[in-house]
Amino acid sequence: MQAIKRKKQKEKIIEGFFLICAFVAVVSVLAITVFVFYNGLKPFVSNSYPLWDFLTGVEWRPGSNMYGIFYMIVGSIFATFGAILIGVPVAILTAVYISELAGSRIGKIIRFAVELLAGIPSVLYGVFGLGIIVPYVLKISPNAQGESLLATIMVLAIMILPTVVSISETSISVVPKEYREGSYALGASKIQTIFKVVLPAARSGIMTGVILGIGRAIGETMAVMLVCGNPIAGIPTSLFDQIRPLTTNIALEMGYASGVHQELLYSTGVVLFIFIMIINLAVNKLVKAKVGS
């Protein structure tokens, strides 16, 4: 009896410890949300800067009291969309190759390379982009500088590869063997099986990977800051135009800003936050749909 009681007590203590650990995450997310929203909404509540001008303005000149982020929103969306357009097909085909086609040795090598890619600090992607991609873009660009939407897209496309590859690969490998065998029995080739049977069956898992990739692309800061050009105005109209995504706007100026300028940088954060929340909700919905089916 005594021994069982003591064991139960011990379990309770350990359980409590786990609860405290879990609270760290909850408290952090609440603190960050409250902090960013409190500071970010202040300028609009106190009327020190009109919300409409903030969201629709196309020029960011803190010294002249001009704080428009519309061109940054456009830049962020274009860059993310472009990165998905290039990165996702490459990532899915990589995942298919690793799990369906490659022999175990080559598969291991590729998987290892993708995992390494995930471990590279983002600033190094930026340095690589500035040293290799930007000069290359400059060669083909009609503009005089290589920092551009295109360079940003290329860096981001590489950066989202690990996320999309690993999640797609996992969901492809859990597709039941019977599906493939059934397909082969009907006379389908390997490639036909992959595209008509395996990928549709793994669809929701792949979509989760893609959406996490979007989250990564839209939130990336350090690497992008070095290759995007960060102009103070202008909606990008071509791949060779410079962009200033929401994230780099915050990172560039937070160090020196004060007063309304600083608050509006938090507001930029709020906009970014809303984007990322939408993406997370979408992921949750997809995951639920997957469980449902």
Binding site: W60, N230, G255, H261
Partner: protein, 282 residues
């Protein structure tokens, strides 16, 4: 061994011990007296003025208060003119300015130049342009001059590289070249001196600016109005894109703590802080 010999030995030993102790005691007293003179620096130092010097002064201030715990140090960045006014009126123990004083501002103030700030205009080494006037630099940054051929170079578009908003170097550059808040919209913005330099080194048509102490061999610092961008030319005031960092105080009103702080600023330690924050030591 005889008894008397033992006695002599013992007394010698005792004597030696007493002497050593006395020695320790006396040396102990001297240390404590020097310490009291050192800790004599106490009081409140409240400086104010130029925002450009804030980083240097804040860093020097926290170092100074670490050495003298009885000192309370504050500095408010309110602008050079305010710093000079505050020092004249006595509301600041000392004021800081990042420009020379106007004659009407001088009054009874004592000036102390504790650092210089110089900005080099850098081009890609492949660029044939080696000299620009301050006015031309301003026009390039405002977008009025957009091709190198307009300033004697090859027929190629100029890629303007600037720093992020709020950067002290950008603020100083815009002020000294006189294009405040008129930077052309499509200028490439880079964070930090290093990134500007990398960008200019990687683009044959780029123009950028970096702290004078930061220029390396990957880029070419050009002459401004025919004057080379060197530390000496900043100090003798012939190089235009530069400015002094001044501390001003009223001799009649200044207290010992403030003077001790300003002395500290001029020591090797203080000057090292200046250089650490991008300034040029005096």
């Amino acid at each position: 061994m005889s008894k008397s010999l033992k006695k002599i030995l013992v007394s010698l030993l005792v004597g030696a011990t007493v002497l050593t102790l006395a020695g320790c005691g006396s040396s102990g007293t001297t240390t404590s007296t020097t310490e009291t003179t050192k800790t004599a620096i106490s009081g409140e130092i409240n400086g104010g003025g130029s925002t450009s010097v804030q980083k240097v002064i804040d860093a020097a201030g926290s170092e100074f208060t670490a050495l003298n715990p009885d000192v309370k140090f504050t500095y408010s960045g309110t602008g050079s003119s305010d710093g000079i006014k505050g020092a004249t009126a006595g509301t600041y123990s000392f004021g800081c300015a990042s420009r020379d004083l106007k004659t009407e501002e001088q009054g009874s103030l004592t000036e102390l130049i504790f650092a210089y700030d110089g900005i080099a205009v850098v081009l890609n080494p492949a660029n044939t342009v080696k000299n620009l006037t301050t006015e031309q630099v301003g026009k390039i940054y405002m977008g009025e001059i957009t091709n190198w051929s307009e300033v004697g170079g090859a027929d190629a578009p100029i890629v303007v590289v600037s720093r992020e908003d709020g950067s002290g170097t950008r603020g100083a550059f815009e002020e000294l070249v006189k294009f405040e808040e008129k930077l052309k919209p499509d200028a490439t913005i880079k964070e930090g001196n290093g990134n500007v330099q990398t960008t200019v080194a990687g683009n044959a048509n780029a123009i950028g600016y970096v702290s004078l102490t930061f220029v390396d061999k990957t880029v070419a610092a050009i002459d401004i109005d025919g004057v080379k961008a060197t530390v000496d030319n900043v100090k003798n005031k012939t190089y235009k894109i530069s400015r002094p960092f001044l501390a001003v105080y009223d001799k009649a009103k200044v207290d010992d703590a403030t003077l001790a702080f300003l002395d500290f600023l001029m020591t090797t330690e203080g000057q090292a802080i200046v250089e650490e924050h991008g300034g040029i030591a005096v």
